[in-house]
Symmetry: none
Subunit: 210 residues, 4 copies
DNA sequence: TATGAATGAGGGTTCATTCAT
DNA sequence: TATGAATGAACCCTCATTCAT
């Protein structure tokens, strides 16, 4: 082993450690934020829970607000990934199926990030202008996706004539509210998730009339 | 005029002034909270806007949190009044009609208290345990009302067989999200309100399928 | 006494108290700054010495930097007043006499504000851009005054031909340095002050050659 | 080559490197201190500018204060060298000439260490007790030298009867202030330096009277 | 009742210095 | 010797609440 390699090894190890440390703080903060809420969370809480010194926090993150934004971005990217990429071309699967898949994927993603989603849903709104912008953009892109799918469905004759904007909002709202409700309770079982998914789909497709 | 009467008059006038002053501070706080958000609002902001002294605020209200809870209670009572009291007896109007009325009433109530609702939706969640409890209770009672109506509808044969709990959540969610969206924009015109009301009703009743 | 007068009395008393409190903090800060230096002075030091609470300090002054600037401004105004206003017209007293008077006045002013001057001389330079600007402006105006007087003297034939800019700097420098030296020692007696004043004048007028 | 010699070579090379590295950090710190001022300078600024690691700094210097003291000492020694060593014996050149030479030498020395001198003049005063002591000692020794020269001049009949202490202070002050003024501006040209040197000398020798 | 000056418990952030590698 | 991540003591400032007048 030449010295270069040794140094390389050290550097690599150090870098890996830095990344894992960062991830550790990030996930700790996620937990603390979820438990106490953004405003009730003190930097002291995070560093105590993470077992690090005060200054160490500021090596890895710019500020309390900064780490929150990082968590927010992380979640929004992840959630967006569960929705974006649905085909609406002529050869694509029927809208109903796509929506079911989307719902299932979202439910799973939210389940995978209970704590994070809980924070976002409960704390992010109205926190600061930048957060608001990000959330608006996020919901806006979802809205576009859903209303686009509905328009497509109308063209294909598998969706009846309706106010796509309003209905897209309704669909988003119904899914969002269901997720909120379930997050506030304990973890949702897979069967529950499926039951809820089917019910919301059925409702969205056929309404409540007989 | 005896002295007693004079004192009575004084007392009455003083009492009236106390009440009106309290109302003045309350409505001022509502405006300020709505404009800046709960956390960004300082007691200084409220007293400056209300034109009162610092100490005066604490004569009428226990704390910043206290006045917020008062506004919250006020709104929840008002909103609840738009929903509660719907008849589900055999002689009652059809569920469809009742829902339309309810939606219309809610939209109007929210429009009447834009500022307050805006705060509740954006700031109240996760503020403290007590607020959370109140909101849970509020949404819970709405949920019960809606799912009860649905059950009733099922018995009457005017609602098809569906998971009433999940669907009730969906209905609440769709209405709530629409209200959120519209609150963040400018004031909704009456025609818009009606259009949206009809669209959400139509969607909830018949779904998206042709 | 009508109620208005009573209120007036209260208001007046309160205002007076506020002013005196402010002055108290200001003079305390002056003492502390002079004793420990700007950077070594903590807000804690000032409030402890002034016998006030932390928050009280911030009622009267914006910040540590703010109170320092106030002291600085106060001194510069006072010192400027000892220098500005000298007549240079044809009917004015001879330059020599004017300079002597100026020196005497400056020495007295500095003696009256030992602590303050000590801070300004020792701490102000290089503290921040604004302080630098103020000091540059202050010394600049002195320089202008002195060189103007010299020019005038030249025209009147009571000052020989010399580089007025450089010589004005020299005069300022010699006075400034003497003041610095004396401030660092104990208080200067009146006789010392006069002796020094005469010596510096004599030196400035006639130089060191026989 | 024996092993000892090799080791000797290594040791020597290592030592040389150590010395040059130390000098490198020192001169970098000088630059940074001059640019940002002592208090605004962070260790981070120095190590970044020097291209070394955090810990390395502390191998070569004890502390931020330590490296500053080293720069201070270095400058004071250098400046002292421009003043000390002037002969005052009977065979020595006339005082006037000696003073002119001294002024010229000081101006040059200051020009050679603009950055450092700038720091000393702007930041050192009041930094800590030790710095104050060193500066007092430095100026004290200059004062002694100048007043000694004046006394000597008086004995030789080339300096008139005057308060040597006060006048020594004046001379120092005038030179110091001029240097300060020029340091704050851009670099002084040689001709400017000479012009200023002659003017200050002329002024010091003959005063302002015709 | 009304006032507004006073309070003081924190909170987030900085940065000189240390130390394991 | 060189590194740079880790440390934690300090510091300035905020602001909800109190209380003497």
């Amino acid at each position: 082993m030449t010295q270069e390699l040794t140094i390389d090894g050290r550097t690599r190890r150090a870098k890996a450690q830095r990344i894992s440390r960062r991830a550790h703080i990030l996930s700790t903060a996620e937990r603390v934020f979820a438990a106490k809420g953004y405003h009730q969370t003190r930097i002291s809480d995070i560093i105590r829970a993470a077992g690090i010194a005060r200054g160490t926090f500021y090596i890895y993150f710019e500020s309390k607000n900064g780490i929150f934004h990082e968590l927010l971005d992380q979640l929004l990217v992840e959630l967006r990934a569960t929705v974006v990429g649905v085909e609406t071309g002529p050869a694509a699967p029927p809208v109903a199926e796509q929506l079911l898949e989307t719902v299932t994927r979202i439910v799973r993603a939210v389940e995978d990030h209970r704590a994070l989603t809980r924070i976002i849903l409960r704390e992010a709104v109205g926190l600061d202008a930048e957060v608001d912008r990000k959330l608006r953009e996020f919901y806006g892109s979802l809205q576009l996706f859903v209303s686009g799918s509905l328009e497509n469905g109308k063209r294909l004759g598998i969706v009846r004539d309706l106010d796509t904007d309003v209905v897209a909002s309704c669909i988003l709202g119904s899914v969002k509210y269901l997720l909120e409700q379930n997050l506030m309770l304990g973890p949702t079982s897979d069967t529950d998730a499926e039951r809820i998914g089917r019910a919301v789909l059925d409702y969205n497709l056929r309404g409540v009339l007989p």
